[in-house]
């Protein structure tokens, strides 16, 4: 097995699929980073991903247009985000609990809508692979980095953009301040609620795209609970990456690469039972979280609803 693994084409294949598999994590975790930086923990990412996956799939199936798929998924994310923000920001719900509710809602509703809309398993023509001119022909690197679908490129492009928005713009400053000390931000005339609505809705829209990246780009089908915990992993990745976009990206890549490796091991039908192999990425997450438990940069107001005049 080891010599098989060391074969260069296998390594390249695993690396390339590691990049591809990182895509949903990136969208979801970068979105969640915005929310958490402003002090809102959205544990419902998984449910929003499922809604995005279904609605994107539905739109592409009926219109044949990938753009329509993306737009409808964004719309679903916006609506889910609005609901999430209302529950967490306006109603000041306990975020650890409300997130579970949002997840179960998204899980149930996406399945219900799917059963109402489709009688049998169908597929769509999703985002095609784009071979970036010139670059994709570089040996090894070209195959690993430059032969993916559009959503993969956008996901990685999002990372520096998120970093820039958080660190170099007035909006980013507001988000950071609201997450660290909402009282101070409020006293400076910033609407804490408005900032948090913005980040939660943005996070939900990105989560919806994360879901759509599965149903109309990676797998091109929809199934009940097709995200299989990836939304929860995305939340963990935000902690793992210490609330920094590049840290989150590193975590997403580590995780997806282990996942790709694990998938390869399974296809080889090697002596390790499949269940153990598929557990590996999750064990890794837990281990990484424990090791990275310093939490120096944790937003001080994370999960704390804001009340004026306390």
């Amino acid at each position: 097995m080891i010599d098989q693994l060391l074969d260069s084409s296998v390594l390249i294949g695993i690396a390339a699929s590691g990049i591809r598999l990182a895509t949903p994590y990136l969208y979801a975790a970068i979105g969640e980073t915005f929310g958490q930086r402003s002090g809102v923990l959205n544990l419902g990412v998984e449910g929003i991903m499922l809604m995005g996956a279904f609605s994107g799939f539905w739109a592409v199936y009926h219109t044949g247009s990938l753009l329509a798929g993306v737009l409808i998924a964004l719309l679903a994310g916006l609506l889910m985000g609005l609901g999430t923000a209302f529950i967490n920001v306006t109603l000041k719900a306990e975020q650890g609990i409300s997130g579970i509710g949002i997840y179960l809602f998204g899980l149930g509703l996406s399945d219900l809508l799917f059963q109402q809309s489709f009688d049998s398993v169908v597929t769509v023509n999703g985002f095609p692979r784009i071979h970036v001119p010139v670059l994709s022909r570089i040996p090894v690197l070209g195959e690993i980095f430059f032969q993916h679908n559009l959503l993969v490129y956008i996901a990685f492009g999002l990372v520096p953009v998120a970093w820039f928005v958080l660190n170099r713009t007035t909006l980013g400053l507001k988000i950071r301040a609201v997450g660290q000390n909402p009282q101070a931000a409020d006293a400076m005339g910033i609407s804490v609620a408005r900032v948090r609505y913005f980040t939660v809705i943005l996070g939900a829209m990105l989560a919806a795209i994360a879901g759509a990246s599965l149903s109309i780009a990676l797998l091109n089908v929809f199934q009940q609970n097709m995200t299989a915990g990836q939304g929860f992993i995305a939340v963990a990745l935000v902690y793992f990456g210490s609330w920094r976009p590049f840290g989150v990206m590193a975590g997403a890549l580590l995780f997806s690469t282990v996942n790709a490796l694990q998938l390869w091991v399974r296809t080889k039908g090697i002596d390790i039972p499949a269940e153990y192999a598929s557990m590996a990425p999750y064990l890794l997450t837990i281990l990484a979280l424990v090791l990275a438990s310093q939490r120096v940069d944790q937003p001080a107001a994370l999960t704390k609803p804001f009340e004026r005049g306390e």
């Binding site: 170099r168 910033i190 005049g309």
Partner: protein
């Protein structure tokens, strides 16, 4: 500054913003559930004057000013600015009107730099991008104009309290504050820093700012203000020009009766050392060294005052002494016995009592009754329990006695702690801790947030305990308190004892310098 400045040519402040010639609050009422915090109060201030707002803790000073700053909406009353009715629904409105506030608890984001804190919420000249370089430059200019030294690029968590306060003032000036509210600004400063602050305030008044100065310290109010308004229990009890006021008259207005500022200090024969701290090191919550080799010794019948600006290791020292925080090095000895690393229950049994700084968190259980809180440590001992059962009769008898002895004002023993006033909660903690007649008492900020009546009472109790031979470590940020009670005064700075001076030899100036880290010899 005692002369009013009248329109020095232009109507603009040095910051380029318009002045507020007058601000008037009329008939302001603010209710909280179960509390009438502000009761029909009129208050006004003009450009070029300092109007002091004086009152005990809980009198309603902060609440009244939070109404002006838009943090609370009043139930009744109106606000006029330059004679015009003003609607202030949020801090954003107040800022737009030219009102700034330096809060009692600073409103800064520790992880951000000074410039980022100042820029927060402001339009940038390069919207949507930040323009921190321009902000930093402007901060330096403002700092120069008003004598407020700060480094715009330093992260706020690295700054000392005094510097943080300067950032708060700059933040308000940067936003064009023509009227600045300072809520108990001196509480966290060394005496020298207070002088610097007053210098800045004088300058601002000369330039045409209107200032509201909140305090419960009489001498400061007398030193800085042109007029004084006194609040008591949410009501305005009087307003007088400062030149007609005396310490005594203000104290009488504030408390509603004559106040003695003197205590009975009997001459006490000091005994052997009961508490000995040897080279004690401990870490802070941030995992930095909060205590760096503290050495102290306190004898029976002696009060050792520990002075210092907050955050210099006082809390960590108290916690390390009471077994709530591990010592990384060094020893603590009680009457010669090494007790380093012992847990609080054991230390209690060895005769240590502890009055914690955060009484609502570490001192009492807020959802327990008065009686339950009084037997927190002793509920398992005779006569309050027999084998596994509590004995309500015995408990009630003991509590009645303590409530009476310590003058705790509570409707009943079954009242929940959280509905008592700060002063009465502190008396309860004191009753519980002193009733065991401790050999060693650690009293951390025993009168913070407590009314004058209770403060006097607590002080007298600490002196009584001294007469009974207790060795007391009195940790306080209030120099007046330390000077009134302590036999010797130690000053802590950045986790080290800067020096120890005897009661008779200590001056405010010298202690102030030591609090800023200057050693006793050099001071």
């Amino acid at each position: 500054m005692k002369t009013m400045v009248t329109g020095s040519g232009s109507n603009l402040l040095p910051t380029g913003h318009a002045r507020i010639e007058s601000m008037e609050m009329r008939g302001i009422v603010k209710r909280f559930p179960g509390v009438l915090a502000v009761d029909h109060v009129d208050f006004d201030v003009h450009a070029g004057e300092v109007h002091a707002l004086l009152g005990e803790n809980g009198a309603g000073k902060s609440t009244l000013m939070k109404v002006l700053y838009g943090l609370y909406q009043p139930n009744e009353g109106e606000i006029l600015i330059n004679g015009q009715h003003a609607t202030i629904k949020s801090p954003a409105d107040a800022i737009a009107q030219g009102i700034g506030m330096v809060h009692q608890h600073f409103m800064l984001v520790p992880s951000l730099t000074v410039a980022e804190n100042v820029a927060l919420g402001l339009r940038s000249s390069r919207e949507p991008l930040l323009d921190l370089d321009i902000v930093a430059q402007r901060i330096v200019e403002l700092a120069k104009t008003y004598g407020l030294q700060v480094d715009p690029l330093a992260p706020v968590w690295q700054l000392a309290v005094g510097e943080q306060q300067r950032v708060e003032i700059i933040k308000a000036l940067y936003r064009g504050a023509a009227l600045l509210i300072l809520d108990e600004p001196t509480a966290v400063l060394t005496p020298q820093e207070v002088d610097d602050l007053f210098g800045t305030l004088h300058q601002m008044v000369r330039d045409g700012h209107a200032l509201i100065f909140i305090s419960h310290k009489l001498h400061e109010v007398l030193a800085i203000s042109d007029r004084v308004t006194v609040l008591r229990d949410g009501r305005k009890v009087g307003e007088i020009p400062t030149r007609e006021a005396t310490k005594e008259s203000l104290a009488r207005m504030m408390v509603g009766r004559e106040v003695v500022f003197r205590y009975e200090r009997s001459a006490v024969q000091v005994g052997p050392p009961l508490l000995k701290i040897e080279n004690l090191w401990a870490r802070s919550d941030r995992n930095t060294d909060a205590l760096r080799g503290v050495n102290l010794e306190i004898r029976a019948g002696e009060i050792l005052g520990l002075a210092g600006v907050s955050g210099n290791g006082q809390r960590e020292l108290a916690e390390a002494l009471f077994g709530l925080r591990p010592a990384t090095q060094g020893r603590v000895l009680i009457a010669g016995e090494d007790v380093t690393g012992k847990d609080p229950a054991t230390l209690n049994r060895l005769g240590i009592s502890y009055i914690p700084e955060e009484r609502m968190i570490d001192g009492v259980i807020t959802d327990f009754t008065v009686a339950e809180n009084l037997i927190l440590q002793t509920h398992g001992d005779r006569p309050f329990s027999s084998s596994i059962f509590l004995r309500p009769g015995q408990i009630a008898r003991r509590c009645t006695q303590l409530i009476e002895n310590f003058n705790i004002r509570t409707p009943s023993q079954e009242t929940l702690i959280k509905s008592l006033s700060g002063g009465n909660i502190q008396k309860l903690v004191l009753a519980r801790e002193l009733s065991r007649n401790p050999r060693v008492l650690i009293a951390a900020q025993p009168t913070r947030g407590v009314d004058i009546g209770a403060t006097e009472y607590i002080h007298q109790r600490l002196l009584d305990q001294r007469a009974k031979g207790t060795a007391t470590l009195l940790i306080s940020e209030d120099l007046d308190e330390i000077m009134a009670l302590a036999d010797r005064i130690a000053v802590i700075y950045e986790g080290e004892i800067v020096g120890v001076v005897d009661r008779g030899e200590a001056t405010v100036e010298q202690l102030g310098l030591m609090m800023a880290g200057v050693h006793a010899g050099q001071a």
